[in-house]
Symmetry: C2
Subunit: 118 residues, 2 copies
DNA sequence: ATCAGATATATCGAACCTTGATATATCCGG
DNA sequence: CCGGATATATCAAGGTTCGATATATCTGAT
Protein backbone atom coordinates (compact mmCIF):
# COMPACT_ATOMS: atom_id res chain seq x y z
CA UNK A 1 0.00 0.00 0.00
CA UNK A 2 1.63 3.20 -1.25
CA UNK A 3 1.08 6.52 0.40
CA UNK A 4 1.12 9.14 -2.33
CA UNK A 5 3.61 11.98 -2.18
CA UNK A 6 2.52 15.48 -3.06
CA UNK A 7 3.40 15.43 -6.76
CA UNK A 8 1.63 12.14 -7.35
CA UNK A 9 -1.24 13.16 -5.09
CA UNK A 10 -1.85 16.26 -7.15
CA UNK A 11 -1.73 14.34 -10.42
CA UNK A 12 -4.12 11.70 -9.13
CA UNK A 13 -6.55 14.11 -7.48
CA UNK A 14 -6.67 16.31 -10.59
CA UNK A 15 -7.24 13.24 -12.75
CA UNK A 16 -10.08 12.10 -10.49
CA UNK A 17 -11.67 15.55 -10.62
CA UNK A 18 -11.31 15.58 -14.41
CA UNK A 19 -14.05 12.94 -14.47
CA UNK A 20 -16.42 15.19 -12.54
CA UNK A 21 -16.84 17.15 -9.29
CA UNK A 22 -16.24 15.30 -6.04
CA UNK A 23 -15.38 15.88 -2.38
CA UNK A 24 -12.49 14.92 -0.10
CA UNK A 25 -13.79 11.74 1.41
CA UNK A 26 -15.15 10.44 -1.90
CA UNK A 27 -11.90 11.26 -3.69
CA UNK A 28 -9.90 9.32 -1.13
CA UNK A 29 -12.24 6.30 -1.48
CA UNK A 30 -12.07 6.65 -5.24
CA UNK A 31 -8.29 6.60 -5.25
CA UNK A 32 -8.22 3.50 -3.06
CA UNK A 33 -10.84 1.75 -5.22
CA UNK A 34 -9.41 2.67 -8.62
CA UNK A 35 -5.91 1.62 -7.51
CA UNK A 36 -7.16 -1.70 -6.16
CA UNK A 37 -6.21 -0.58 -2.66
CA UNK A 38 -2.63 0.23 -3.63
CA UNK A 39 -2.76 4.01 -3.39
CA UNK A 40 -3.71 5.83 -0.24
CA UNK A 41 -4.25 9.51 0.39
CA UNK A 42 -4.96 10.15 4.06
CA UNK A 43 -7.06 13.03 5.40
CA UNK A 44 -3.94 14.88 6.55
CA UNK A 45 -2.60 14.67 3.00
CA UNK A 46 -5.91 15.27 1.27
CA UNK A 47 -7.30 18.40 2.91
CA UNK A 48 -4.18 20.58 2.80
CA UNK A 49 -3.78 19.56 -0.85
CA UNK A 50 -7.37 20.45 -1.74
CA UNK A 51 -6.97 23.78 0.06
CA UNK A 52 -3.84 24.45 -1.98
CA UNK A 53 -5.60 23.57 -5.24
CA UNK A 54 -8.40 25.97 -4.30
CA UNK A 55 -5.99 28.74 -3.36
CA UNK A 56 -4.22 28.31 -6.71
CA UNK A 57 -7.49 28.51 -8.62
CA UNK A 58 -7.29 24.96 -9.99
CA UNK A 59 -10.63 24.05 -8.43
CA UNK A 60 -13.77 25.88 -7.38
CA UNK A 61 -15.69 24.80 -4.31
CA UNK A 62 -19.18 24.77 -2.86
CA UNK A 63 -20.72 23.42 0.32
CA UNK A 64 -23.57 20.96 0.38
CA UNK A 65 -25.69 20.29 3.43
CA UNK A 66 -26.33 16.56 3.46
CA UNK A 67 -29.56 16.11 5.43
CA UNK A 68 -30.70 12.73 6.63
CA UNK A 69 -34.10 11.47 5.47
CA UNK A 70 -35.89 11.97 8.77
CA UNK A 71 -33.59 14.60 10.18
CA UNK A 72 -34.52 17.65 12.19
CA UNK A 73 -35.00 20.39 9.57
CA UNK A 74 -33.26 22.84 11.93
CA UNK A 75 -30.11 20.71 12.35
CA UNK A 76 -27.04 21.70 10.38
CA UNK A 77 -26.66 18.21 8.94
CA UNK A 78 -23.41 16.86 7.60
CA UNK A 79 -21.35 19.27 5.50
CA UNK A 80 -19.80 18.17 2.25
CA UNK A 81 -17.39 20.35 0.32
CA UNK A 82 -17.52 19.81 -3.42
CA UNK A 83 -14.52 20.45 -5.64
CA UNK A 84 -14.89 21.21 -9.35
CA UNK A 85 -11.91 21.35 -11.72
CA UNK A 86 -11.59 24.86 -13.18
CA UNK A 87 -10.34 25.58 -16.73
CA UNK A 88 -7.02 26.45 -15.12
CA UNK A 89 -7.14 23.08 -13.34
CA UNK A 90 -7.70 21.27 -16.64
CA UNK A 91 -4.70 23.01 -18.13
CA UNK A 92 -2.62 22.18 -15.07
CA UNK A 93 -3.63 18.51 -15.34
CA UNK A 94 -2.58 18.43 -19.00
CA UNK A 95 0.77 19.98 -18.04
CA UNK A 96 1.24 17.51 -15.18
CA UNK A 97 0.45 14.55 -17.41
CA UNK A 98 2.94 15.72 -20.01
CA UNK A 99 5.60 16.21 -17.32
CA UNK A 100 4.78 12.84 -15.83
CA UNK A 101 5.24 11.10 -19.17
CA UNK A 102 8.53 12.85 -19.81
CA UNK A 103 9.83 12.01 -16.35
CA UNK A 104 8.75 8.39 -16.68
CA UNK A 105 10.43 7.96 -20.00
CA UNK A 106 13.78 9.24 -18.71
CA UNK A 107 13.45 7.34 -15.45
CA UNK A 108 12.73 4.18 -17.43
CA UNK A 109 15.91 4.65 -19.43
CA UNK A 110 17.93 4.63 -16.19
CA UNK A 111 16.09 1.62 -14.85
CA UNK A 112 16.31 -0.27 -18.15
CA UNK A 113 20.10 -0.10 -18.07
CA UNK A 114 20.35 -1.44 -14.53
CA UNK A 115 21.68 -4.99 -14.40
CA UNK A 116 19.27 -6.20 -11.76
CA UNK A 117 20.14 -9.20 -9.64
CA UNK A 118 17.86 -10.28 -6.83
CA UNK B 1 14.98 20.73 -16.08
CA UNK B 2 13.67 18.55 -13.29
CA UNK B 3 15.17 18.50 -9.84
CA UNK B 4 14.86 14.96 -8.53
CA UNK B 5 13.04 14.30 -5.28
CA UNK B 6 14.41 11.80 -2.80
CA UNK B 7 12.57 8.70 -4.05
CA UNK B 8 13.58 9.30 -7.64
CA UNK B 9 17.06 10.40 -6.60
CA UNK B 10 17.61 7.15 -4.79
CA UNK B 11 16.35 5.07 -7.70
CA UNK B 12 18.52 6.94 -10.18
CA UNK B 13 21.66 6.98 -8.01
CA UNK B 14 21.35 3.26 -7.26
CA UNK B 15 20.84 2.54 -10.95
CA UNK B 16 23.92 4.58 -11.83
CA UNK B 17 25.99 2.74 -9.22
CA UNK B 18 24.69 -0.59 -10.52
CA UNK B 19 26.83 0.04 -13.60
CA UNK B 20 29.94 0.41 -11.48
CA UNK B 21 31.49 2.42 -8.62
CA UNK B 22 31.42 6.19 -8.88
CA UNK B 23 31.64 9.33 -6.75
CA UNK B 24 29.31 12.24 -6.01
CA UNK B 25 30.43 14.72 -8.61
CA UNK B 26 30.66 12.10 -11.37
CA UNK B 27 27.24 10.69 -10.48
CA UNK B 28 25.67 14.12 -10.74
CA UNK B 29 27.32 14.72 -14.15
CA UNK B 30 26.26 11.23 -15.22
CA UNK B 31 22.65 11.88 -14.30
CA UNK B 32 22.63 15.14 -16.22
CA UNK B 33 24.28 13.54 -19.26
CA UNK B 34 22.21 10.36 -19.35
CA UNK B 35 19.00 12.37 -18.98
CA UNK B 36 19.99 14.76 -21.75
CA UNK B 37 20.14 17.56 -19.18
CA UNK B 38 16.61 16.93 -17.94
CA UNK B 39 17.41 15.53 -14.49
CA UNK B 40 19.42 17.41 -11.93
CA UNK B 41 20.69 16.34 -8.54
CA UNK B 42 22.40 19.21 -6.76
CA UNK B 43 25.24 18.82 -4.24
CA UNK B 44 22.90 19.58 -1.35
CA UNK B 45 20.65 16.76 -2.53
CA UNK B 46 23.44 14.39 -3.50
CA UNK B 47 25.72 14.30 -0.46
CA UNK B 48 23.09 13.79 2.24
CA UNK B 49 21.59 11.03 0.06
CA UNK B 50 24.95 9.27 -0.39
CA UNK B 51 25.57 9.53 3.34
CA UNK B 52 22.19 7.93 3.96
CA UNK B 53 22.89 5.12 1.51
CA UNK B 54 26.19 4.49 3.28
CA UNK B 55 24.59 4.55 6.72
CA UNK B 56 21.99 2.04 5.52
CA UNK B 57 24.64 -0.27 4.14
CA UNK B 58 23.53 0.02 0.51
CA UNK B 59 26.95 1.27 -0.56
CA UNK B 60 30.50 0.90 0.66
CA UNK B 61 32.94 3.80 0.37
CA UNK B 62 36.62 4.53 -0.01
CA UNK B 63 38.67 7.67 -0.42
CA UNK B 64 40.98 8.30 -3.30
CA UNK B 65 43.67 10.96 -3.30
CA UNK B 66 43.69 12.44 -6.77
CA UNK B 67 47.16 13.85 -7.25
CA UNK B 68 48.03 16.13 -10.12
CA UNK B 69 50.73 15.06 -12.55
CA UNK B 70 53.37 17.47 -11.38
CA UNK B 71 51.95 18.08 -7.93
CA UNK B 72 53.91 18.51 -4.74
CA UNK B 73 54.20 14.96 -3.34
CA UNK B 74 53.50 16.34 0.15
CA UNK B 75 50.23 18.09 -0.80
CA UNK B 76 47.01 16.40 0.20
CA UNK B 77 45.68 16.54 -3.35
CA UNK B 78 42.00 16.48 -4.20
CA UNK B 79 39.88 13.95 -2.31
CA UNK B 80 37.41 11.77 -4.13
CA UNK B 81 34.98 9.51 -2.28
CA UNK B 82 34.07 6.38 -4.21
CA UNK B 83 30.75 4.62 -3.71
CA UNK B 84 30.30 0.95 -4.54
CA UNK B 85 26.91 -0.72 -4.54
CA UNK B 86 26.79 -3.47 -1.89
CA UNK B 87 24.81 -6.72 -2.27
CA UNK B 88 22.19 -5.10 -0.02
CA UNK B 89 22.20 -2.12 -2.38
CA UNK B 90 21.61 -4.38 -5.39
CA UNK B 91 18.65 -5.96 -3.64
CA UNK B 92 17.30 -2.54 -2.70
CA UNK B 93 17.60 -1.40 -6.31
CA UNK B 94 15.68 -4.46 -7.50
CA UNK B 95 12.97 -3.70 -4.92
CA UNK B 96 12.86 -0.02 -5.93
CA UNK B 97 12.55 -0.89 -9.60
CA UNK B 98 9.70 -3.29 -8.93
CA UNK B 99 7.93 -0.67 -6.79
CA UNK B 100 8.54 1.95 -9.45
CA UNK B 101 6.96 -0.23 -12.15
CA UNK B 102 3.95 -1.01 -9.99
CA UNK B 103 3.44 2.65 -9.13
CA UNK B 104 3.81 3.70 -12.76
CA UNK B 105 1.30 1.19 -13.95
CA UNK B 106 -1.37 2.34 -11.51
CA UNK B 107 -0.55 6.01 -12.04
CA UNK B 108 -0.88 5.46 -15.78
CA UNK B 109 -4.34 4.00 -15.32
CA UNK B 110 -5.46 7.22 -13.61
CA UNK B 111 -3.87 9.39 -16.25
CA UNK B 112 -5.21 7.29 -19.12
CA UNK B 113 -8.77 7.91 -17.99
CA UNK B 114 -8.34 11.67 -17.78
CA UNK B 115 -10.15 13.50 -20.55
CA UNK B 116 -7.38 15.98 -21.26
CA UNK B 117 -8.20 19.27 -22.88
CA UNK B 118 -5.48 21.85 -23.37
C1' DA C 1 -32.84 3.22 22.15
C1' DT C 2 -28.05 2.58 21.92
C1' DC C 3 -23.78 1.89 20.09
C1' DA C 4 -20.11 0.77 16.84
C1' DG C 5 -18.43 1.93 12.61
C1' DA C 6 -18.73 4.67 8.56
C1' DT C 7 -19.09 9.35 6.67
C1' DA C 8 -17.04 13.96 6.53
C1' DT C 9 -13.85 17.79 7.34
C1' DA C 10 -9.94 19.60 9.50
C1' DT C 11 -5.64 20.73 12.37
C1' DC C 12 -1.36 19.76 15.08
C1' DG C 13 3.47 18.75 16.00
C1' DA C 14 7.60 16.15 15.31
C1' DA C 15 10.25 14.37 12.03
C1' DC C 16 11.93 14.63 7.65
C1' DC C 17 12.96 16.74 2.96
C1' DT C 18 14.27 20.48 -0.21
C1' DT C 19 17.02 24.25 -1.93
C1' DG C 20 19.80 28.11 -2.60
C1' DA C 21 23.67 29.98 -0.31
C1' DT C 22 27.89 29.45 1.65
C1' DA C 23 32.41 27.23 2.64
C1' DT C 24 36.76 25.01 1.57
C1' DA C 25 40.24 23.34 -1.38
C1' DT C 26 42.34 21.65 -5.64
C1' DC C 27 43.14 21.32 -10.67
C1' DC C 28 43.51 22.95 -15.51
C1' DG C 29 43.80 25.98 -19.54
C1' DG C 30 44.73 30.29 -21.36
C1' DC D 1 47.87 34.01 -12.29
C1' DC D 2 43.21 33.70 -12.60
C1' DG D 3 38.55 32.07 -13.80
C1' DG D 4 36.02 28.02 -14.26
C1' DA D 5 35.71 23.29 -13.43
C1' DT D 6 36.41 19.55 -10.09
C1' DA D 7 35.16 17.82 -5.51
C1' DT D 8 32.94 17.45 -1.00
C1' DA D 9 30.10 19.26 2.47
C1' DT D 10 26.97 22.02 5.70
C1' DC D 11 23.40 25.47 6.98
C1' DA D 12 18.96 27.68 7.68
C1' DA D 13 14.41 28.63 6.04
C1' DG D 14 10.72 26.84 4.28
C1' DG D 15 7.90 22.91 2.76
C1' DT D 16 6.21 18.06 3.25
C1' DT D 17 4.69 13.95 5.62
C1' DC D 18 1.98 11.28 8.81
C1' DG D 19 0.00 9.49 12.79
C1' DA D 20 -2.80 11.36 16.30
C1' DT D 21 -6.40 14.04 17.60
C1' DA D 22 -10.82 16.67 17.27
C1' DT D 23 -15.57 17.41 16.02
C1' DA D 24 -19.92 16.12 14.34
C1' DT D 25 -23.30 13.40 11.72
C1' DC D 26 -25.31 9.25 9.71
C1' DT D 27 -26.42 4.13 9.31
C1' DG D 28 -27.24 -0.46 10.53
C1' DA D 29 -27.42 -3.95 13.90
C1' DT D 30 -28.81 -5.59 18.25
Amino acid sequence: MLTLKQDHSELVVLSVLALGPSYGYAISKDIAARSDGHFKLSPSGMYPLLTKLEKNGLVTTSWEEVKAAGADPDSTGRRRKWYTLSPKGHKQLARRIELHRQTQSILDSFVAQSPVRA
